[in-house]
């Protein structure tokens, strides 16, 4: 028997009637067409399907969609602001943190939830937080570097928000730099 599911995905509310056996990833990919969320191992081992539910990174291939009823879901499609990539996305590009890109949306969603919780992480903390994310081509160093770089960019954006109004033009410039990734070390 189908049951009602109410969820908010990337800020939009949706209402579906679904079979209880439906997994969250099926709702995202097949019903909403949000195919940025990838499925690879299907056994909860690789984290390619990672999305954020109520602020926490979870594996969408291993969750019954009905358990997410009433909750907020963010997928990779929800990160960019129009055509401006999210600083984490830009940091992945600038640091060569992917090759085939299959695991990347999961990596970025994992990194997003992690940086929201720990805005200034060490290399080791990133390693511990991201160790569930498997990548078969790039290797993990560049991913780690991209996340550290993203942390710096996000911190710059946060700091910019707190600066008094008279310094706004200079701040605008910093923000632009942070977003474009130019000057990222």
């Amino acid at each position: 028997m189908k049951r009602e599911l109410n969820i908010v995905v990337n800020g939009e509310s949706y209402n579906f009637f679904i079979e209880p056996k439906t997994l969250l990833v099926q709702v995202l990919r097949e019903m909403l067409g949000l195919r940025g969320t990838h499925q690879a191992c299907d056994s909860s081992s690789c984290a390619a399907c990672t999305v954020i539910v109520d602020g926490k990174a979870v594996k969408s291939c291993s969750i019954l969609a009905l358990q997410v009823n009433g909750k907020q879901v963010t997928t990779i499609e929800g990160l960019a602001d129009g055509t401006n990539l999210h600083p984490i996305q830009q940091a992945f590009i600038d640091n060569w943190a992917f090759q085939c890109g299959f695991c990347t949306s999961g990596q970025i969603m994992g990194a997003k939830a992690f940086l929201d919780e720990n805005p200034n992480p060490t290399r080791e903390e990133i390693q511990a937080a991201m160790d569930g994310h498997l990548c078969r081509c790039t290797g993990y160093n560049m991913i780690n570097e991209a996340i550290r770089d993203a942390a710096k960019r996000l911190q710059a954006l946060e700091a910019a928000k707190k600066v008094p109004a008279q310094r706004a033009p200079q701040v605008q410039k910093w923000m632009q730099t942070a977003k474009s990734g130019k000057g990222a070390a």
Binding site: P20, K21, L23, S43, Q67, F114, G132
Partner: protein, 295 residues
């Protein structure tokens, strides 16, 4: 893409009473209880099981707690996630071994959704919380509509993926007593990939006398080396009443190796896992002793 192919009737509960009512109504049916479902969904996707009913207890917010008090110790509700145990400041202070254990359970994503109690009810022989709960002398509160009973941690699992929880019952709470003074506990697991199930895991808790010389109590739990987590009672006896040295720990490890029955698999032979458990026991015992001396 693997999906769950067989339909089931979905029965969500929002309170403990509702959950126990549903369990009592369906105790003669083919049902499974889902909390986070981090093992259950995979088992259904791989078509290992196809229950007719799924009783969903994830919404039981009244059991999503981790509480500590100086008299009764730690209480972990059935819906507390692995991640909340890992991140709990009071657990980090009073039972650091549990946080250290959690840091090596699967990945952050799995720990965010999966529950400690659900993991124990799934009853993989290498279930991570199994050995430390044995070492910390935990009790498991199992409830049905009509009664509640408590079971020692080492008695909870019965066999591969089988526990004392009967149809109509659920694991409601995990209780861990206040540690006696001069007690130290430590846990290590060995797995091929970080976060994977252990080939062997060992938890040791050591309590020393007032002078911090002789061992007054020791508890040893082992995982992955039998059909369920095992308490090595004979090895504990080797340590009790004596001053613990590396030689004594080596003796206890030899005894523990006779108390376990590992199963050969692609990841290692039974003999390999037995040796591994012995080696881990020596290392873990040494650290537990160091912690007891500092406690």
């Amino acid at each position: 893409m693997k999906t769950i192919t067989t339909d089931f009737e979905y029965l969500p509960a929002t309170t403990v009473e509702e959950a126990l009512d549903l369990l009592s109504q369906h105790k003669d049916d083919d049902y499974k209880v889902i909390a986070g479902g981090q093992s259950l969904n995979t088992a259904m996707k791989h078509r290992l099981i196809a229950p007719e009913f799924i009783i969903d207890i994830k919404g039981l917010s009244d059991l999503d707690y981790i509480k500590f008090d100086d008299q009764e110790g730690l209480k972990i509700g059935a819906l507390a996630t692995h991640r909340s145990l890992e991140k709990s400041p009071i657990v980090r202070e009073k039972y650091p071994v549990l946080c250290e254990m959690e840091e090596n359970v699967a990945s952050v994503e799995t720990r965010n959704w999966g529950t400690v109690a659900g993991d124990l009810c799934n009853a993989d022989p290498a279930v991570d919380p199994g050995p430390p709960l044995i070492a910390l002398d935990a009790k498991m509160k199992v409830a049905s509509k009509d009664e509640e009973r408590t079971v020692d941690a080492e008695e909870f699992a019965l066999d591969f993926f089988e526990t004392v929880v009967q149809p109509g019952e659920m694991l409601k709470e995990i209780q861990i007593p206040v540690l006696p003074p001069n007690t130290g506990a430590y846990f290590t697991k060995y797995s091929q990939i970080h976060g994977d199930y252990a080939l062997a895991s060992v938890a040791v808790s050591i309590t020393l006398d007032k002078k911090k010389e002789a061992c007054t109590n020791a508890r040893i739990g082992l995982g992955g080396v039998g059909v369920k987590p095992i308490r090595a009672k004979k090895a504990e006896e080797v340590l009790k009443g004596k001053k613990i040295t590396e030689a004594l720990l080596a003796e206890a490890a030899e005894v523990a190796k006779t108390e376990i029955s590992p199963v050969s698999g692609i990841e290692g032979s039974a003999d390999y896992k037995r040796e591994l458990a012995g080696t881990l026991l020596k290392r873990v015992g040494k650290e537990a002793l160091a912690r007891a001396q500092k406690a």
